[in-house]
Symmetry: C2
Subunit: 502 residues, 2 copies
């Protein structure tokens, strides 16, 4: 029997080869520039350092000949500005805005591995999980191994976006290439803090920010390492649940069996929320989900499965939603415990019955979900488990009249966003990215993560498509965040191709 396989073949464009050749000369200088950028702490509430970050980016833009460099402030004071710049073309047929964010997730430096610190970037000869070690920064003209990684907060999420976009533009100009449409740069400073004031900037600078497409650089590429573009993001909202025992910690000997234990109560409450196959048991949890279109279903089916490789790498046997692939799982809403605490464990543990137990819950949303409605379903479930709900610590009277009390603090949140794969500009974007690699690129209807993409749609009626570049094992949002250099290099080629797209 003979098998006939239809293989779609792809070739790297000449442009990509030119960009790569320029990078080989520039990479050492870029590394130095990037490391100095990463060393500036980038927590959104740290106003002084955020100003330093913004100034650093302005300087990066100026060095590359980008025009009209500005800081775009929201109307609310003391919020980090977006850093803006542009390259205008006479009679341009379109405008594309490139987005990344320069702020990072909160840090707990005590959790970083030995020798590492969120704001002291280190170079490692590979991945920490694979026993890589810290190495010296390369000397001038020393060859740079693309498997090396930089460990630092923001290294992948999302200063990598700023670095790759600006270096892509630099590479084009150095090769005498000029985009034939307007390019604008927009680097946000408040994404990890929830982009609470992004809409103020979009409204205030609406005229300046009109475009045919926002290309959003954030998040990791596919776990197979293949290049990817993503047509949407899940929405996100949180809830923090506290259940209560005695008002004061009690000796677990003198009161054990008699005083209620809030850690156990919380365990029972959380256990009631999901079955053993990862399905959320909260009433109506999946009811509002908009079904996938046929084109989206096809795109999902074409995504190569990294699942077994990922399980081996991550060290677990079974997925949470029995029988669902990673690609399918992230197209459904989630209820995930981000953290759980009651008194202390380990050396700090003592013989007490805790006074409270707390769980931080993350709700991811898909098209069709409304974040407030999804939070309300959670609250109603907790009520259905016999809890009296409060939003502040219970009063003595509430304690005396309710057997089970849960404090629930709901966060702000935002809904999911999804761009149609059928738009011509979407097809051009796919072609541009495909031109950089002989590998088949991946089109995903949505990323699993969240970006406040609805804001662009709501305030600017803008179209957004996300083009991530970071390695999937970048420890984004956790300790030991890192970027694999090859991913940074690939990102530069990707954005250069997009800037020259049809």
């Amino acid at each position: 029997m003979i098998l006939f396989l239809t293989l779609q073949t792809h070739a790297q464009s000449d442009l990509t080869k030119q960009i790569r050749s320029y990078r080989e000369k520039q990479s050492n200088a870029w590394l130095q520039e990037y490391v100095s950028f990463l060393a500036i702490p980038n927590l959104a509430p740290d106003t002084i350092n955020m100003q330093k970050n913004a100034a650093y980016i302005q300087n990066m833009m100026a060095k590359r000949g980008i025009q009209n460099i500005q800081l775009l402030y929201p109307t609310t004071p003391k919020i980090p500005p977006a850093v803006y710049g542009e390259v205008l073309v006479p009679n341009a047929k379109k405008t594309i805005i490139f987005y990344a964010h320069y702020d990072g997730q909160p840090v707990d430096s005590t959790k970083w591995s030995k020798g590492l610190h969120p704001f002291k970037p280190m170079l490692l000869n590979g991945s920490l999980e694979k026993q890589a070690t810290i190495i010296n920064w390369p000397k001038e003209k020393e060859e740079i191994n693309p498997e090396w990684r930089i460990y630092s907060r923001g290294a992948s999420d999302d200063k990598a976006g700023v670095m790759a976009i600006l270096s892509a533009y630099e590479s084009l100009i150095a090769n005498g290439k000029h985009p034939d449409f307007n390019i604008k740069f927009f680097f946000e400073g408040e994404e990890e803090a929830g982009s609470d004031h992004l809409h103020e900037i979009l409204v205030k600078y609406a005229a300046q920010l009109q475009s045919d497409l926002w290309v959003i650089c954030d998040g990791p590429v596919h776990q197979t390492g293949k290049k990817m573009l993503v047509f949407g993001a899940r929405g996100d909202a949180h809830a923090e649940i506290t259940v209560f025992g005695s008002k004061r910690p009690l000796h677990s000997g003198h009161y054990g069996n008699w005083a209620p234990n809030p850690a156990l109560e919380l365990a029972k409450l959380l256990a009631s929320m999901k079955d053993d196959h990862g399905k959320v048991l909260i009433k109506g949890f999946y009811d509002d989900v908009t079904p996938l279109t046929d084109r989206e279903k096809k795109a999902v089916a074409a995504i190569p499965s990294p699942d077994q490789q990922m399980k081996t790498e991550l060290g677990f046997m079974s997925e949470e939603m029995t029988g669902k692939s990673l690609a399918e799982s992230i197209l459904l809403p989630t209820l995930n415990i981000n953290g759980m605490q009651s008194a202390n464990v380990g050396k700090l543990s003592s013989n007490i019955i805790p006074t409270t137990a707390i769980a931080s819950i993350d709700l991811r949303l898909v098209p069709g979900n409304d974040y407030k409605k999804q939070q309300e379903k959670l609250v109603q479930h907790i009520q259905s488990q016999g809890y009296f709900i409060v939003t502040k610590d219970p009063t003595d009277q509430e304690r005396a009249s309710h057997n089970k009390i849960a404090k629930i603090v709901l966060s702000d949140g935002y809904n999911a966003q999804r761009t149609s794969m059928d738009l011509p500009i979407a097809q051009h974007l796919i072609q541009a990215i495909q031109s950089t690699t002989s590998d088949q690129i991946i089109s995903m209807p949505s990323m699993g993560g969240s970006l406040p993409l609805f804001v662009f749609e709501k305030y600017l009626k803008a179209t957004t498509i996300t083009v991530p570049i970071a390695n999937h094992d970048n420890n984004q949002h956790a300790e030991n965040e890192n970027i694999r250099l090859q991913n940074l290099w690939n990102g530069i080629e990707t954005f250069a191709a997009i800037m020259m797209m049809k």
Copy 2:
């Protein structure tokens, strides 16, 4: 209809009145002596400070004319010594040893309320829970309100025992009273660290430590405030359970629904251990329990119920074991969660799927239980829930071949101990304590808490009865530990009466 009530009436002895009168003169000096004692940090592993504590106690003994003052060291080096002293009587008919411990529970000073610190004793004009505030230490001859409290680690557990016993002896001598039997003092320095080396001291000094009775001063009096003596203690053992998710923290957006969440797994596991009425569901958990004797049952029935008062004070409506009183509950073995943790909550929470979730479990034991057997039942239950059990973090191979993995670290532990209420010396002790108060005193078959009393039985064949003095709301083992002064004064009268008992 006429009701005939048989009321047993009690009167305070003349001795008690003399002791009280002496205390009214001495209390200011005692406060000063006690506060300096409390200010010496008393964590068993802090060798230097434990030496200071021991020296301080030796000095307290010397000032009171106690003889043969010694430090009794175990054979293992670097363990805090017991502080020993004695008062021998020619042709004594019996010997009673008074025990307390001078070490304290671990401290987390950040959890103590504003203005308080474990080793900077403060005087408050009442209980912190009732909005008491810090006040100045009384000047010489200033009247001391017995409702005032001293806040400090060890204030009640158990430097109060050392202070009350030594001051009782001082009061007797000052009143020209001399015990007609041998009195020995034995103050341990390693109780809160598990008394791991106590047996070495008992064996090494066995001849010197022969006695008719050990009077153990530790723990709180009854919640009604009534004086109490206790014929036994629960045993204690621990287990720390860790369940595992991904080897590295994952972004809860990119992997939520797909990567298993160890916090949820742990919640389900803990929830499987107890029903909604506080009954432990682990197979055979209650099987080994020795039933109460008739006399013990009668004693339990005579204990006044503080339950409703306690629930109001502690701020909860329902006891954990539905329908069981506090006095009944503590005569059963427990499974109690001391602490639970997975990643972070509150401001430190981030959008991740945690890598591990940990629970610290406390198992209290009653006569009939063997601590190792009780731990083994817990391990078997976890196995029965589908877990593969490891004692160290799982290897990659273990992760690849087992769906659910629990690491269980079992502590050392010890069994319960109970002395018969029928012994003549027990009856004499009851009479002595009853002579100090017009209130009916309480005899409990066992305290809820644990003391390594089996050690005295095993190595010295000794009889032990516990006479606690601390207020029940002393925050023992937690932050804001405190002693109510009236409890300290009552303790002095109690031990003076015991030293003059039949």
